[in-house]
Point group: C2
Chain length 339, copies 2
Amino acid sequence: MPTLRDVGEIEAIRLLHQAVLGRADVVVGPGDDAAVLRCDASEDLVATTDALVEGRHYLPLWLNPAARGARLAAVNLSDLAAMAARPRWALLSIGARPEHEMDALVEFQRGLETALAKEGATIAGGNLVAVDGEEWWSLTLLGSVARGRAWTRAGARPGDLLALTGHPGRAAAGLALARRAGAPDAVDPKWRPLLEAWLEPRARTAFAQALAPAEAVTAAIDVSDGLAADLAHLCDASGMGCDVDAWSLPEDPLLGRAAGTLGLAVTPLRLGPSDDYELLLAVDPRSRDAAERAARESGTPLAFLGRFTGRRGELALLAVDGARTPLDPRGFDHFAGAR
Amino acid sequence: MPTLRDVGEIEAIRLLHQAVLGRADVVVGPGDDAAVLRCDASEDLVATTDALVEGRHYLPLWLNPAARGARLAAVNLSDLAAMAARPRWALLSIGARPEHEMDALVEFQRGLETALAKEGATIAGGNLVAVDGEEWWSLTLLGSVARGRAWTRAGARPGDLLALTGHPGRAAAGLALARRAGAPDAVDPKWRPLLEAWLEPRARTAFAQALAPAEAVTAAIDVSDGLAADLAHLCDASGMGCDVDAWSLPEDPLLGRAAGTLGLAVTPLRLGPSDDYELLLAVDPRSRDAAERAARESGTPLAFLGRFTGRRGELALLAVDGARTPLDPRGFDHFAGAR
């Protein structure tokens, strides 16, 4: 199988980048010094960048190249979903070892392209450099949103509802089950949905696009550091506090069983560090119906977990009996050890 | 000195990213899920990405963190200059070891910011991940250009003039002199301009911006793989050939002396692989004056080296006596060994 070294940089770039066909918003695609893209006058541009590093964000044993590409798409798409942006163009910067097989690189790129295309985006350019150490893949994703209508972390108001998509904690449970099993074949098939949550996260792009026109959302963040940590980020940016009703977290019996098997408590799993790429939203209470409608239309689980308060920085978990416990916002820190 | 590990990811990102102040085109800067940027209705967006890898694109001994940041700016700015784009926004993706000193990271970021700000651009977002192997810095730079007016590699026509900024080959000579000397202190000060060409390339942004309104340029490329290789890329994209007048390369006595000292022939140094980030242009012959005016206004050396021809893919070096030699377009390939 030819490697990057055999193929050479220029030919490798040619193999990786297909012409972008039939898109009026790509004036010049891959192959020139830069890409030329056409924005709409009535829209703002939204830009994010996120990277996958070998051994840290993925383990080759667990994730084939195409699935890695899809994962890189998802982590970036999730950032755009959190801004209500429509995904449009991506630039991929790769650091790969010279002995990397060209076919595997192409497989990664196709996985990325396919996942981006599902949400309407295309790869418009890239860069390829040789590395000796671990490989990395850094994507910049550009999207657009109606002018002045991007969701940010900063707009929540007292009385706004806290809403959550999906089932955070599943990715962390999937990762823990995978570590215990040691190899994909060794994982009991009953945990498959949890493993998928870890390996194949899917951004909430469709839900965000369905909800954006309703102007129901006053603040948003994607859950990548953990529910509690990202709620703290949102509250911090908005200058708010939040009361979370402990009983309102959506039922997740499979996660409960996994927690039992792993000897873990389920609530920390659900609130703590977990790469789920769900959305946390502050919703105007008058627009709750619109949010539920967007969830139904896009097939997205949506739960209302509590209310924002004017008590800046105060995150509390409320029990059914009204007891308040402070919510621990510690998230995952790549540079710190376990705390 | 605190390291990334001491500081932690979230605080590190806060230290690196200053608020973007006083720019109407940055609606949401660093610190949210994505940046929100405002394009002008009359412009196209231009996007490029390029990376620096430790040990491959820079040697810590030769380039302090701020100079590395400036270099990363230059390699990306050069791509936008080659498209006639005005630099506006950047996203920086970093892979750094946990033991990296926080101060050095900030110094890098400030060097990058300063170099971008000189050309009108600002850092609007970024990402930071931990690595164990070599460190890397991947920048995506966004700019804008009047709608439909981006220069590409594809528009050269028979009879168009081949124009070149600056003095390619200087960066390659600087690198060779540095390798020979082994340490910055050991390089004879007389070679300083060559060393600077290698260590501190400056993109031709001002020249490109001065020339863009004249609509004199039919095709453009930045010289990053070497003059001959990049001329071949441009000819390939335009479906043209090119006759280069050997005597028309600008005088460069210092490069000549360096070639002598290094035991190298000067012409291969000037035409071969060299990280100079100059521009190669196809210029409408009726607009030669406009190009020379833009060069004077922006203080840019500009030489006219020959003419494009309809002989697709045929690159020739013409001697004073009219003898034609094929021009060898081999460039630098990161994945191939020396050829």
